[in-house]
């Protein structure tokens, strides 16, 4: 507070004037009070209190069922004959799917393998097909779609509305720099948006722990914390964006329409379109087509192999004096086995190589398409946020890639240890066909074939992967704030 003396020659007196700077706190206080007293705050409270705990609870029930199914499946697998273990595997459900369902309901819940074939199971479902019809709300949806809309609702008249009311003029008739006003609005709005959100999330977390959700296992809570922080950044991005448009328009009604259209584009259009556009630019054959191609390849090579082995088998049958039409695989004749391996192995190696090539090729193309889709989608903060959240929840594309990689690695192990020690020959002659299969003599598979184990990424891995996207969100927020600042500096308040 500075006191000044103003000399007034006309009146021949000295006027004392006490002047001090307008503080940021005053502005902040006013913003908070104004927002709290409005009906919007009530609406926000109600929506948060309703949607967040409820969605968390419903999804946690589903997760428990998935977990029970998974444990049951593990039990079944452990009781399998040791020779059959490793021929199938199950994927554990991600506990954080409660927050963001992500790929959890589209990724296979397990697989089974045979020589030259990997068969994926169906994905987990919500339970009743009815949820397939009506969809499911999760935490990610509430923040991404609903809270962003509410953020716009709070921000749309922050500048243009005050201009319409005339109070903006009144404020600017004081010694308060424009950036302070903007900052006050941002801080006030964010506080008002964030507090109900945090309270509702807190309640939701309490409900979760009360129903037995393992929030404190394996540092889940760290990931949850990070997701909450990301949500706050996301909400602030939209709030600032609302302020930007408000400071670029002079009628709050115009602001509203523009914001609504932005919401539609960011939240509805871009996520979906990015996938489609990526599919058009870098098309990839469907899994069904690839599976068919692999099947045909296997059949083809099996037939070639059969033709090459035919004479050997027939000779053996003649040698053993079998009845016509009876062939056999003589495991006790080392020469027969050696000859058979000599002929068959190159074909099998070729089959292995070509199958691997088809797979690698397909995977690589899919990766590139996915990568492209992700980059295109980064136009919209909503998609960026979805990527961050699903990565944090271990239900994002990373986990998908990890799972398929893990399955392939497991198959490669099984192939090396078990399948390569087996034989599967198909001989055809004159319309008859004989199939032979089993373990090659002299090459017994290991006592305990490898079990499939899938591990979720460590928190540092998830973080490292989603860090660029988190940074992008923050950059968006900062960018929008800068634009708002520039726009507001030149804003005509009359």
């Amino acid at each position: 507070m500075v006191k000044a003396d103003i000399r007034s020659p006309e009146l021949n007196q000295t006027l004392r004037v006490a002047i001090g700077p307008a503080s940021f706190l005053t502005l902040l206080q006013k913003e908070i009070l104004d927002l709290v007293l409005s009906i919007r705050f009530l609406v926000l409270l109600m929506l948060c209190a309703l949607l967040i705990p409820l969605s968390l609870y419903v999804n946690s029930q589903t997760y428990e069922r998935w977990l029970a199914d998974y444990n049951e499946q593990l039990k079944i697998e452990s009781t399998l004959r040791s020779s059959r273990s490793g021929w199938s595997g199950t994927r554990p459900p991600s506990p954080l799917a409660v927050f963001a369902n992500g790929v959890e309901t589209s990724l296979p819940k397990g697989f089974s393998i045979q020589p030259n074939q990997i068969q994926m199971d169906k994905p987990r479902s919500y339970g009743d097909p009815i949820y397939e019809i009506f969809g499911r709300i999760d935490f990610l949806f509430v923040v991404q779609a609903v809270l962003s809309l509410i953020a716009f609702l709070f921000a749309f008249d922050s500048i243009s509305g005050e201009k319409e009311m005339g109070t903006l003029r009144l404020c600017l008739a004081n010694a308060v720099p424009r950036y302070k006003i903007l900052l006050g609005k941002f801080a006030g709005g964010m506080l008002i948006l964030v507090v109900p959100f945090l309270i509702a999330t807190g309640i939701g977390l309490i409900v979760l722990t009360a129903t037995g959700y393992p929030l404190f296992d394996h540092n889940l809570w760290t990931k949850v914390l990070l997701m909450v922080v990301a949500s706050i950044v996301y909400i602030s991005t939209f709030y600032v964006l609302g302020m930007v448009i408000s400071s670029l328009t002079h009628q709050s009604k115009t602001t509203l329409i523009v914001l609504m259209l932005i919401w539609v584009v960011f939240v509805l259009a871009v996520p979906r379109l990015s996938i489609i556009v990526a599919g058009m630019i870098r098309p990839v054959e469907s899994d069904a087509v690839i599976a068919l191609r692999k099947k045909l390849l296997v059949e083809h090579i099996q037939q070639e192999k059969g033709r090459a082995l035919k004479d050997l088998y027939f000779a053996k049958a003649r040698q053993k004096g079998l009845a016509e039409g009876a062939l056999t695989f003589d495991a006790n004749d080392p020469e027969f086995v050696r000859r058979r391996n000599e002929i068959a192995k190159p074909f099998e190696a070729r089959m292995r190589d070509e199958l691997a090539k088809i797979d690698e090729d397909h995977q690589r193309k899919k990766q590139r398409q996915l990568h492209l889709a992700r980059n295109i989608a980064r136009i919209s903060p909503a998609s960026v946020f979805a990527y961050v959240m699903t990565d944090m929840a271990d239900t994002g594309e990373t986990v998908k890639v990890r799972f398929f990689d893990a399955v392939r690695r497991h198959y490669a192990r099984m192939d090396r240890l078990v399948f390569s020690r087996m034989y599967q020959d198909l001989i055809t002659d004159e319309g008859h066909s004989w199939g032979f299969g089993g373990t090659l003599p002299g090459e017994e598979p290991p006592e305990k074939p490898p079990r499939f184990a899938f591990r979720f990424p460590e928190i540092s891995e998830s973080l490292a992967h989603s860090l660029p996207d988190v940074a992008l969100l923050v950059i968006y927020a900062l960018l929008f704030f800068i634009v708002a600042h520039v726009a507001f500096i030149g804003y005509d308040v009359r």
Binding site: S38, I39, R40, V43, L47, L50, L51, V58, N101, G102, V103, E104, L107, G127, D128, P129, I130, Y131, E132, I133, F134, G135, R136, I137, D138, L140, F141, Q144, A145, V146, L149, I150, L153, D157, S252, T254, L256, I257, V258, M260, L261, V264, L268, A269, P271, R272, L273, I275, I276, A323, E324, G325, A326, S383, A386, Y387, T395, E430, G431, H432
Partner: protein, 518 residues
């Protein structure tokens, strides 16, 4: 008078930046959606044709009746770019055979797990979400704003009955929304028609007209809601907040809540349990087959006299195809067939009943959810549109039902050709042309192996396919528009009812509203 007010409202709305922005964006969305979904339809149509011709080709290659496994295809709905519904989410084919009865099965579906919000972004979805928001945003201050401005008092100071003013406001607002919908639809239809895969019949045009009309009724609902709230609430900003809250609850919350409620009020058994029971039945069947096989061992035979034989398992007389076998073997197989096939078909029916009753519980649950979801005009609208577009769940269920009936038709046909419990089921030979093992041995001794080979023949490759040209074909009959309208009537009724109620309420509220600025 009404027209004057309406014109004023239309001009107010239209001569603004926001209208232009909204209009342009809507058209872009419509166009984009139409292009993408039409292309998608073309691809689906192409794979449907490919699948259908492949299945037809397969039929032309079968050589015995046992191979008759028919896959019928469901063509994609032509109007699916307008309203996708379940068209992609449910299977587009059904497979049937003597022992295989078609069940509900999911289709390829949406592979994108990050599509958190909408399942599909078809034209109906654009109307449902974007245009309804626009309707709110144009009308949220239609009364409260005019009151604040003072023009409400001014207008009513003239000799204008209040209800006429209300009608005028309503009409003006609807006239603003009309071009958005119509132009968008026209653009979309243009895109659709220019596709070679799409050809609309006159009934299709009527359907399209109805969908457009229902879209307008849907938008009118939100428009009226906005007018009502704008009348009751004094300040425009408050009115907007209230409306947005209502929108979120009606469009987002209710449909999800209905699924949740239905899940808890009418829970459905896990499919895994039904599958388990089905598996038990199948094991039971196989046990019975095995015990039959034990009691009926094959007569002694020489393997060399059997050609082209494939069976379920060698020790059970349940043949699939046999090119040639000695007579007593054939007889043994025939007797076995009569028992096994009959048993298999019986068990197929029993398992089918299991799944049928499971389906019924699913449907009952869905019905309850639908009833609750009817609180949401957004859901009602989508439901009505998808019924007319031929993409709702019932449409698929009808297809399934027809596939099941077709199976009976096919079985009757095969029976009429005496191909079911007879030799023709698994072979093309007649009993009289078959020699017994003893006769064959004698022949071989006397004339050598060559003679046997000549007698038996070269195998299935030289057998021409069965002539099935007189078999009834599956007709993917589509529902007539009358039937569809009848089914969509409850939904239509709800929308119209909502409109009337909201209009009445607005009327009453406006008559008693305080028009002073303050």
């Amino acid at each position: 008078m009404i027209w004057t007010i309406a014109r004023k409202q239309l001009l107010i709305n239209v001569m603004t930046q926001k209208f232009v922005i909204g209009f342009v964006l809507c058209q872009l969305l419509f166009l984009l959606s139409a292009v993408i979904l039409t292309r998608d339809y073309e691809e689906r149509r192409a794979s449907y044709s490919a699948a259908a011709s492949q299945h037809a080709r397969q039929l032309r290659q079968i050589k015995v009746y046992s191979q008759l496994t028919i896959t019928v295809d469901r063509p994609p709905a032509q109007l699916s770019p307008l309203c996708e519904g379940f068209d992609k989410r449910l299977a587009s084919e059904a497979t049937l055979s003597y022992t295989r009865i078609p069940e509900i099965s999911m289709g390829q579906g949406e592979k994108n797990p990050l599509m958190v919000v909408l399942k599909s972004f078809d034209l109906v979805a654009i109307v449902q979400i974007v245009l309804s928001l626009l309707a709110l945003f144009f009308a949220y201050d239609v009364v409260s704003g005019e009151r604040e401005q003072g023009t409400l008092a001014l207008t009513l100071s003239h000799a204008l009955p209040r209800h006429k003013m209300l009608m005028g406001q309503y009409l003006g607002g609807m006239m603003t929304l009309l071009p958005m919908v119509l132009v968008g639809m026209i653009l979309a239809l243009f895109v659709m028609i220019s596709s070679s895969s799409i050809a609309f019949s006159s009934q299709d045009w009527m359907r399209i007209g109805l969908i457009v009309a229902i879209s307008l009724i849907y938008l009118s609902t939100f428009h009226l809601l906005a007018i009502l709230v704008s009348t009751i609430v004094k300040r425009s900003a408050t009115s907007l907040t209230v409306l947005l809250f209502c929108w979120i609850v009606l469009v987002v919350l209710f449909p999800h809540a209905s699924a949740y409620l239905a899940h808890h009020i009418r829970p459905v058994e896990a499919k895994a349990m039904v599958d388990a029971r089905a598996r038990n039945l199948r094991s039971e069947m196989w046990q019975r087959l095995w015990s039959y096989a034990k009691k009926h061992p094959p007569p002694p035979h020489r393997w060399e006299f059997i050609k082209g034989r494939s069976v379920y398992t060698g020790d059970i007389p349940y043949p699939i195809m046999i090119y040639y076998a000695p007579r007593e073997i054939m007889l043994w197989e025939l007797e076995g067939l009569k028992y096994c096939l009959r048993l298999d078909m019986e068990y197929a029916e029993r398992i089918h009943d299991l799944y049928r009753s499971y389906e019924r519980t699913l449907l009952r649950q869905a019905d309850l959810a639908k009833m609750v979801a009817r609180l949401s005009p957004a859901w009602v609208y989508t439901q009505a549109a998808s019924i007319l577009a031929g993409t709702d769940a019932d449409h698929y269920l009808r297809f399934l039902e027809r596939a099941r009936r077709y199976r009976h038709v096919v079985i009757d046909y095969v029976e009429s050709k005496d191909g079911l419990f007879s030799l023709a089921y698994f072979t093309r030979r007649n009993m009289n042309e078959l020699l017994t093992t003893a006769e064959l041995e004698a022949l071989r001794k006397s004339r050598g192996r060559r003679a046997i080979d000549d007698l038996i023949g070269r195998g299935w490759d030289e057998v021409p396919p069965l002539d099935l040209r007189d078999m009834p074909t599956f007709d993917p009959v589509s529902e007539t528009i009358d039937a569809q309208i009848k089914r969509a009537l409850p939904e239509l009724g709800i929308l119209i009812f909502l409109n009337l109620v909201l209009f009445l309420l607005s009327h009453v509220a406006f008559l008693r509203a305080d028009v002073r600025a303050d």
